[in-house]
């Protein structure tokens, strides 16, 4: 067994040192009645060649001919090979949480850089060292708002990712807080009148997508002004972080908390996870922020160094008084994003965002020529819903050709106006030719 280094002689010697007669002897503290008397009923041990063969066959059952035209919270983007080659360095890959800063400066400095990137892109003042994902980050933002305001009501736009809203509902069910859902208008933005009606002196936070689930760019400034007037916090949720290369940071627009995922930077889709959730807010809220945070300090020699800090918010110190129970987060995924953002740089980020915007323009044009109109009139970044008639049928038809077409909005929205809506994305991976092909195939 290549992972078990023990030779029979060593086992014998070590048992002797321990004073035990056999390996089973070591378990005498487990009552006989609780012991397992049979081998586990899992598949027999497999050698590496067979394992690789099996998994290759499994993976091949997933392969599609082209990058999917699906966004909806997970975005197909190009990850430069440099990212993964750096990520695979064992010093990063196999490191523990950097509780011992002297031997973890590599991870810590990278997390400090991650936090800085998150702040710069969101326009916020502080960020934590990552979250599990965008959905739980959204739920944590809502909980933080209830702590900060002492209020128990959360207003969430129905154009926030439906799965995020479902997670939010699950979290709020256990804390006993209340969730109010605000409908969208025909432009795909959260309906301003409905939002005004939903927000009052009992509202802890207003939560908006940015861009929202329909790919539409919300008017965050307006919503934030409204929320502020009511004494509520504004939380923006960003699943497609590339948009932040083109759109103003939510912090600049008056939001108090910006959450979401940086999956788009450096993290492959991986059937949905892992990817780095992010959490950024105003400096004033830092002691109510959930999750680990990396901070700068100095060592005994006065040299700058980094440590995990503000741990008095956290479960391992505060136990039941902690701001959250999160500990392990998505550090390695955050590192992947940091490396990708470093490669992109100032210019590359802006270029990538413009390119995505451009590709969505091409998609809109190609679909238009094929006879499919956009569902929403609001401003879009790289994702658009089109009226395609029987959206599920289109998806099924294209799947037969190995083409992942997008997702029918009717899966989440009973609204008859959305019954034929297919939500599609176009990124730098979708060449103009591929976009043309796609529009033709949707037409059939």
């Amino acid at each position: 067994m290549r992972y078990h280094p023990h030779t029979p002689e060593e086992i014998r010697d070590m048992l002797a040192a321990v004073g035990a007669k056999s390996l089973d002897d070591l378990f005498r503290s487990i009552p006989e009645s609780l012991r397992l008397k049979r081998p586990l009923a899992v598949a027999p041990a497999q050698d590496e060649i067979a394992l690789l063969g099996d998994f290759r066959r499994l993976a091949a059952r997933n392969e599609v001919a082209h990058p999917p035209f699906i966004g909806a919270g997970a975005y197909p983007h190009h990850v430069p090979p440099a990212v993964d080659q750096l990520l695979l360095r064992g010093e990063f890959f196999t490191a523990y949480t950097p509780y011992q800063p002297e031997v973890s400066q590599g991870t810590l400095q990278a997390l400090f850089e991650w936090q800085t990137y998150v702040c710069l892109l969101t326009g916020m003042e502080v960020a934590n060292a990552s979250m599990y994902d965008g959905a739980s980050a959204t739920a944590e933002a809502a909980l933080m708002a209830t702590r900060l305001t002492g209020r128990k009501r959360i207003a969430v736009s129905d154009a926030v990712h439906p799965e995020y809203r479902r997670v939010l509902a699950t979290y709020l069910a256990s804390t006993g807080d209340e969730l109010v859902t605000v409908p969208h208008g025909p432009d795909g933005r959260t309906d301003p009148a409905a939002l005004a009606r939903a927000v009052d002196g009992s509202t802890a936070a207003v939560i908006l997508g940015y861009p929202n689930f329909f790919g539409v760019v919300e008017d965050v400034a307006k919503a934030a002004a409204l929320a502020k007037q009511a004494g509520a916090l504004t939380v923006t949720v960003t699943a497609e972080a590339v948009a932040l290369g083109l759109l103003r940071g939510p912090g600049e627009l008056g939001a108090d908390v910006a959450v979401g995922t940086f999956q788009s930077f450096g993290n492959p889709l991986q059937f949905g996870g892992p990817a780095p959730g992010f959490f950024a807010t105003r400096e004033a809220n830092v002691r109510q922020m959930p999750g680990r945070v990396c901070g700068a300090t100095v060592d005994k020699q006065g040299r700058r160094g980094f440590v995990l800090t503000l741990s008095t918010r956290e479960q391992h110190i505060r136990r039941e008084k902690a701001t959250s129970n999160i500990c392990t987060n998505a550090g390695l995924c955050a590192l992947a994003s940091t490396i990708h953002l470093a490669l992109l740089g100032r210019r590359g980020l802006a270029d990538l965002a413009r390119l995505n915007f451009d590709r969505a323009r091409l998609l809109r044009a190609a679909m238009g020529r094929a006879g499919f109109a956009p569902v929403f009139s609001g401003p879009a970044f790289n994702e658009l819903a089109f009226q395609v008639g029987d959206a599920e049928a289109v998806v099924a038809r294209l799947a037969k050709k190995g083409l992942a077409a997008g997702v029918p909005l009717a899966r989440w929205y009973p609204d008859p106006k959305l019954s034929g809506a297919l939500l599609c994305v176009a990124t730098e991976l979708h060449s103009p030719e591929l976009i043309e092909l796609f529009a033709r195939e949707v037409k059939g």
Binding site: I11, M14, F27, I30, E102, Q105, Y132, D133, H316
Partner: protein
């Protein structure tokens, strides 16, 4: 060398580390989106070439300890070897590039893998079913307690309290509090175990559950677990198992057979997915029959020759809902299943046995030098204290830092809280006797130096890129991001 922050270098103009396609032509986002939505380039972002990025992170990495560079005797954190073949498998394009919302007919490979992992985890732990979705152990706990809550709600009363022994991880009380439960702490006995009488005294009809880690954080098996479970069950409570220490039991005993109703796994501990400097984790939760209706969505099911995700609440009306977007940390599922496949039944059984052997060997070889607060049998980890060094002024923290100079990561320190000055050591089964012997030698040398030269120990570490860092200062005036003008040190 000193490696500056990215933000402190190479902000020069056009420099770029990527190669992108050109846009299709001239267009003006401002005209289409409105200028009020747009930002220009973000001035503070660095602009560097690919080589600069590669050098930066290559050099930064050298400032880290990892399993691949040295031994990690971290108690309750199970830092075992992360197989390299798993990394190759997780990168197969069919897995890495699969969109979570692919039509199910295009995702049968992923779904089949998830189903097999779900079955294997249920079998290994002795439960009925397992949800794979929680993103980490703590979220698994949260999910578990949510299910407990939903169970009680379904029976008409969510109840108010959760019992937790004093040896528990901090996540246990934090999780209970997040679910609105009041935490009742139970004292463990002089043998480091929780005793049935203690539980009996605390148990009443308002207790929703007891949360127990077994083996507990002293590395001690809770031998009374069956009786405790009976006591709790008799009053309608449930028993939550914290699976952080499952490694000790692999193939030896199953929590589901001991009276536990629900338990989270930490795939990055027990099943060797990489810890990555703090995640991603993966925290599947296994449940007994009575909690199955409350499992979160989605659930992967086999139907005929194919697989399908149950996503719709209508199919599982009692489900607590979702705890994360999509289907969980699939990338970690690939690695965990690969390990289970390569181990097979014998390998799994050997894992528990050899992990326990390694811990007991370290215990036997250090017990004459370091104080052992509990004489009870150890399983996969052993807890020492700094008591024997008291006269020298050398503390647990000093021992930990001095070990760094000997080339080892420090053990877990000052945990569990019930042990004063705890040094918690879990060697895992992937370490050789030679490595353990070197570690034992290092620990003995530190103890010896503490007597002879306590100041030398207290001045450690000297070998890494930084000496001890001022954590108080970091917390008092938090600097959590780079800003222009930040300096590279003081004094």
């Amino acid at each position: 060398y000193e490696e500056k922050l990215l933000f402190e270098r190479g902000s020069a103009g056009e420099r770029c580390g990527v190669s992108l396609p050109r846009p299709s032509g001239d267009f003006d986002p401002a005209a289409e989106l409105g200028p009020e939505l747009l930002r220009g380039e973000i001035a503070e972002l660095p602009a560097v070439s690919e080589l600069e990025v590669v050098r930066h992170f290559t050099r930064l990495s050298a400032w880290n300890h990892g399993i691949d560079t040295g031994f990690y005797p971290l108690g309750s954190c199970t830092m075992k070897y992360n197989p390299k073949s798993s990394e190759a498998l997780a990168r197969l394009p069919g897995f890495a590039d699969a969109h979570p919302l692919l039509p199910e007919e295009l995702a049968q490979g992923s779904l089949a893998l998830m189903h097999e992992l779900e079955r294997a985890l249920s079998e290994i732990s002795g439960f009925t079913a397992t949800t794979l979705t929680p993103a980490a152990g703590a979220q698994g706990e949260l999910t578990g307690v949510m299910m407990i809550r939903a169970y009680h709600v379904a029976r008409g009363n969510p109840r108010r309290k959760v019992l937790i022994p004093d040896t528990a991880h901090g996540t246990n009380p934090a999780t209970s509090a997040l679910n609105g439960y009041e935490v009742v702490q139970l004292a463990s006995g002089p043998d480091g175990r929780l005793h049935p009488d203690t539980v009996r005294a605390a148990m009443d009809d308002d207790v929703a559950a007891i949360m127990i880690t077994n083996p507990n954080t002293l590395g001690v098996f809770e031998s009374h677990i069956a009786e405790i479970a009976e006591i709790v069950h008799a009053r309608g409570g449930l028993v939550y198992g914290d699976g952080a220490n499952l490694n000790a039991l692999l193939g030896v005993a199953r929590p589901g057979d001991m009276g536990f109703d629900v338990m989270q796994f930490n795939l990055h501990k027990t099943f060797a997915t990489p810890h990555g400097g703090g995640g991603p984790g993966s925290g599947p939760v296994a449940v007994s029959e009575k909690l199955v209706p409350f499992l979160p969505l989605p659930i992967v099911v086999k139907e005929g020759a194919g697989y399908r995700l149950v996503k719709d609440a209508a199919e599982r009306p009692q489900s607590i809902g979702r705890v994360r977007e999509f289907h969980g940390n699939f990338g970690m599922f690939v690695r965990a299943l690969a390990l289970i496949r390569e181990y097979g039944p014998e390998g799994l059984a050997a894992t528990g046995r050899l992990a326990v052997l390694n811990a007991n060997y370290v215990r036997a070889k250090l017990a004459d030098v370091y104080d052992l607060p509990y004489a009870t049998d150890s399983l996969h980890e052993v807890v020492f204290t700094d008591k024997n060094l008291k006269a020298t002024g050398v503390t647990t923290m000093d021992v930990a830092k001095r070990l760094i100079d000997h080339g080892f990561h420090p053990p877990t320190v000052y945990f569990p809280l019930v042990v004063h000055g705890a040094l918690m050591i879990e060697p895992t089964e992937t370490e050789t006797k030679e490595t353990l012997d070197r570690f034992i030698d290092g620990m003995r040398q530190v103890a010896e130096q503490a007597q002879r030269d306590p100041d030398g120990v207290k001045a450690s570490p000297r070998k890494p890129v930084r000496e001890r860092l001022d954590e108080t200062r970091a917390a008092r005036k938090p600097i959590l991001r780079w800003k222009p003008g930040m300096t590279a040190g003081e004094r």
